[in-house]
């Protein structure tokens, strides 16, 4: 079974600065997808960014980018120019591309607090 580990329970960052969230995973598969989801306080979870394991190029979405290290099974998220609206729980998630049901396995989450 796949496992996803987020080793940082909580992180704080000053507005406009950069923060990096760590995620490691364990799998024997070669093809899979990785995701970062954001869960703001009292609001629904939304997708931040996704990475396909067969792509070597790191995904980027505006101020969000990932550092995907397949051999190390590491998938970190960098938030640049942090904004107050980035305050949320961030979950790393794994999906086996060969799984019939596209099941997501989530990490335990990292709480990010952006300070003014």
């Amino acid at each position: 079974a796949q496992t996803v580990t987020q080793s940082q329970p909580e992180m704080s960052v000053q507005e406009a600065e950069t923060v990096t969230l760590s995620c490691t995973y364990d799998t024997s598969e070669n093809n899979y997808y990785l995701f970062w989801y954001k869960q703001p306080p009292s609001r629904q979870m939304i997708l931040v960014i996704r990475q396909e394991a067969y792509k070597q190029q790191n995904a980027t979405e505006n101020r969000f980018s990932v550092n995907f290290q397949k051999a190390a099974k590491s998938f970190s998220l960098k938030i640049s120019d942090s904004q107050l609206g980035d305050t949320a729980m961030y979950f790393c998630a794994f999906m086996d591309s060969w799984d019939a049901g596209n099941k997501l396995t989530f990490g335990g989450g990292t709480r990010v607090l952006v300070k003014p």
Binding site: R43, Q44, R50, S97, G101, F106, G108
Partner: protein, 116 residues
């Protein structure tokens, strides 16, 4: 923008009572997921439907939990009888079966259950 709807948003019940949660996925999404998220942890899949069929219910405590999606559209998750350990956020998500975004799950706002 289409969203996943869930009701109720909050539910307080006493142990041994029955509770039910409702989810209406994004129109046209064939796949529907129910997750349980204990406070401070990542979501864990309870059950997954494709249309009206169960794809995965391996983590559903079947002695007290049941789920149905009779017409392949909206879904109901029931707990009977509720136990103190069932206190959690229950999230519903959906994803399309075809197109570019089949691996992306769209989440509803959740139902927060408190069992007293």
């Amino acid at each position: 923008e289409a969203e996943v709807a869930q009701s109720p948003r909050y539910k307080i019940t006493e142990k041994s009572q029955a509770v039910a949660f409702w989810c209406d996925p994004i129109s046209g999404h064939a796949t529907l997921y129910w997750y349980r998220q204990i406070l401070g942890q990542g979501p864990e899949l309870l059950v997954q439907f494709q249309d009206e069929s169960v794809v995965d219910d391996s983590q559903l405590p079947k002695d007290r939990f049941s789920a149905e999606r009779l017409k392949g559209v909206d879904s109901t998750l029931k707990i009977q009888p509720a136990e103190l350990g069932d206190s959690a956020m229950y999230l519903c998500a959906s994803s399309p079966l075809e197109g570019v975004y089949t691996d992306t799950q769209y989440f509803g706002p959740g139902t927060r259950l408190t069992v007293l």
